[in-house]
Each structure stands twice: as C-alpha cells, then as structure tokens.
Amino acid sequence: MTTLRTESLDAGAAASTGPRVGVLALQGDFREHAHVLTKLGASVSLVRRPDELDAIEGLVIPGGESTVMDKLSRAYGLAEPLKAAIAAGLPVYGTCAGLIMLADTVLDAIAGQQSLGGLDVVVRRNAFGSQNQSFETDLDIPALGERPVHAVFIRGPVVESVGPRAKALATISDGRVVAVEQGNLLGTSFHPEINGEFRFHEYFLTKVRAAATAA
C-alpha cells in the first residue's frame, strides 16, 4: 500500500455472494449506502472509475452535491459509460443528488450542469429552500408496506412532473412527488440510508436480482 489510507469498505462488504452493487463514491454519503447494502447481503464495491462499473449488477448514486458529482463524473470519464449502462438496463437507485443525476430534466441547475438522465421526470433542486427548511417526516408508501416510511429531506429536490414512462411512488402531504420508479430505476428526494430505513434498498435489490436473472 502506497498511501496511508485507501478508499475501501469494511472487510466483508464485498465478500457476500449476494448481488454485486456499486456505490458511486465521487462525493457524498456513499459509506452510509454501502453499510445498508452490506447489511442486506449485497456484495458492495465503490465506484470512482469507469472500469469499476464492469463487474456490478446495480448502482446506487448517493446523497451529496449534484453539481460536484456531475463535474467529477464527466472529468473522469464515468458519465458516458454510466449513461450507456442505464440505457442498457442497469438498475440504479439515486437518493437526493442521485435522483437529480437520474432525472431527464433538472430545474434550478447551475450553468452547464448535466444529469445522466434515464428517469422521465422533471426535478427541481433545493425545492424546499435553505437548510432551515430541511425536515424529517413520515410518508405512506403502499408499495413498501403499511408501516410509514420515515423520510429525512436535506435541502432536497422534488419531482415537479412525472412523465408517462415514470411512476410516482410517494408524495408529501401537499401532493408533491418525492419518490419515483421507472423500470430498473428508482429515485427518492430523501435519504433512507441515514436513518435505518432499509425498505427502499430492499426494494432496489429485488430489481437488481431480477435484472441479473434476466440477463
């Protein structure tokens, strides 16, 4: 080892025989996602370079700053292979910044900001305002069972419109959409990875398993 610390996961993260899931590790709370996926039996790896996409059967794009993920994914040659993988059916779950990266259209983006696209939705960044308006709340999401989903929104985006190919999974009390799916793609405005809510990741892993079996 030539460096004092290398970006790696806890021993055992990759040891599972479960589905091979990558977590985009350019910036943000990727370790929290890796932790949840490992607990659920996935074989988890971090993705910062194009060749790290080769071995995975699914990808999570974490929370963080979408403008930073966009710049780094383009600067290091990840954006184009990722777009191709999404088009070819790679299951991808994005939380917050990850949802923005997956949206076909992004409102309130900075000049030149691009998304990977794939989800037929229009997403607005920082839709609730500053950190003072960040909040946590309970959501009813029938697809995940009766027990409400506790959702933490951190300067989160909302889905302003859902195109014909995508489907809304959850809304907040004023009717705005905060979770969507479309085939193998899943996106949430909030962060199940930071409050022990595993059901979205479980739901995502069923997509990953189904896609791997079909392939």
Partner: protein
C-alpha cells in the same frame, strides 16, 4: 430567497432536529468547502466543484495581516453570496456571540461556523447551539474540545489547524491528535472510560459513544493551512471526511485552477497519480507564514476551550 413562497411541507414534519442538522454535513463528505469574500468568488468556487462556500468579509490571511477585531460579515455580503450560488452557504459568528448567530439564522445561511478565526466575544461560554434551527460547525484541536462542542449542539466538527497561514502543520497535528485519541478510546475498558471522560473534560455518554463506534458522532472535516491539492489529499488520508480551504485558493495565483485541483485531489486522495496530474501548472500557491514564526497571541487555534 426565491423559494419563500413554497408552502410548508407537512404539519407533522420537523425541522432543526439533530438528524437533519447532522445530515447536511453527511452530504458534504468527500467535498471541499471554500472561503469566499465576494459573489464572484462564490461563483468561481461553485463552478470549480466546491461542495459549499464560507461567506466572509476577509479571508483569514487578511484578518491576520490587517489585525483589529474580526466580526460577523455584513448581511448584504452574505445575502449576495446566497443569491449567487445553489450550493450550501456557511457564515462565521464569533465564539460565544449568540446574537451574531441569531442574525445568521435569520439570514437563512445553511451552516453557522462558531469560529476562532474571528475575535472571541465571550472568553468563558460558547454558544448554546441546541437553541438554533440552523446547524453549527465548530473547530477543535483535540477530542475533548470536539466532544464539548458536540455536547453544546455542534452538528459538525472541523479540526482547527492554523487559519490564514498556508502552513498545514497545525492541521496535521490536530487531525492526528483527534484520530489518535479516538483510537485510544476504542481499546479501553468501561472503568478506564470514566477516567478518560474526566481527562478529556467531556461527557461520559459521548466518550462511550466514540469508544463503541470508533468515530465522532458527527462529521469531521479538516481546516487551517490547506493550500495545495497534496495538502487536501494528506488530510483525507489522515482520516478527515472532507476539507475546508480558506485563504489557500483566492490568495493563490490561479484560483479557478487551484480550486478545481483541490476538489479532484480530495475525491482521489488515495491515488498519487491523480494528485500529481492535478498539481501541474497551478501557478503560485499562497505565500504563507510558517506557524513557528507566529507569536503565541497570533495563534488562532488557541481561541476556544
């Protein structure tokens, strides 16, 4: 704020909880937070890939050079920076100056830095940070100081380093100190932890939590003297979750290029070939001051207790 007309999300929702406050810091991990003194600099920082900006009237190097009492920035400046960028905006209040913090919360900044870079307003008490909806980041030179700040409600810690010097040695000292003290707790028995809490002058419950989890209960960034991509990568290899760069960017010859290079070196901190590549042709780094040449009264890290 353009979003002011958006209705409140739900009657049952809660803002300002610990989870929400600490959560924003979680989202900043692996990123670079840059000091900016104008809206133009904020734009450059966002375009270069900063994960947040710190809005200031003077960078620490100028505070150091000009002397005098350093205070919270003009609200007009902070608002101009908030209006310019879409990434989170932080701003500094003096240690113990809870009214400056109230003003910053009213200005809707995303994080308040109770900072030793400004002149302390209270030499006994820090701000009661639980009383605020806006999260706080505080500096620390060691684990006990970090845990005292967390006990007061800090939702993020940055090791202090020596701001405005361009000399990374104090940043190195402080991040190493914090991580080695955490490592020492991990191997202690419960009876030893009572003594450790006494020696760290920190609450036992927080000491126990650190011993059990092997990390602080909040995100830990490094600050103070980071001036090059290699400095940033070194802090990451030493265990930081991310870095603050103060004077190091806009006191250098080519801020745009240096800012982008520090961002890349922070993400690829464990890949010397990337760090080498981004370090090429950045022009002059900030001239800097060796910390050893600073008389003790000019050392900012000693403010706060």
């Amino acid at each position: 704020m353009t979003e002011a007309s958006v209705p409140a999300p739900a009657a049952t929702s809660q803002t300002g909880s610990s989870r929400v406050k600490r959560g924003l810091a979680e989202m900043l991990k692996g990123g670079v937070i840059m000091d900016v003194v104008t809206a133009e600099q904020a734009r450059i920082a966002e375009d270069a890939g900063a994960v947040a900006v710190m809005a200031l009237e003077r960078v620490p190097a100028d505070i150091r050079a000009q002397g005098g009492v350093a205070r919270m920035s003009d609200p007009d400046l902070i608002e101009a920076i908030i209006a310019e960028v879409s990434i989170p905006v932080m701003a500094k209040a003096r240690i113990g100056h809870f009214v400056e913090a109230q003003v910053l919360q009213a200005l809707d900044v995303d994080y308040i830095d109770e900072s030793e870079v400004l002149s302390p307003a209270d030499y006994v008490n820090h701000i009661d940070k639980w009383a605020f909806n806006t999260p706080f980041v505080c500096g620390a030179t060691n684990l006990g100081e970090a845990l005292r700040r967390i006990n007061e409600g800090a939702a993020m810690i940055r090791s202090k380093g020596e701001a405005g010097t361009g000399d990374v040695s104090e940043a190195t000292k402080h991040i190493r100190k914090i991580t080695s003290e955490i490592n020492a707790l991990k191997s202690m028995t419960r009876d030893e932890l009572y003594v450790a809490a006494k020696e760290l002058q920190a609450p036992y419950e927080l000491v126990l939590e650190v011993a059990e989890t092997g990390k602080l209960p909040v995100v830990l960034f490094t600050a103070g003297g980071v001036a090059t991509p290699a400095d940033a990568a070194m802090m990451m290899q030493l265990g930081a979750d991310g870095v603050f760069v103060g004077s190091g960017i806009f006191k250098s010859g080519n801020p745009e290029a240096r800012a982008a290079a520090v961002v890349k070196a922070t993400t690829f901190y464990d890949d010397p070939s990337v760090i080498a590549e981004v370090s090429r042709g950045l022009g002059e780094a900030m001239v800097g001051i060796n910390v050893g040449d600073l008389a003790a009264p000019h050392r900012l890290a000693e403010r706060g207790w």
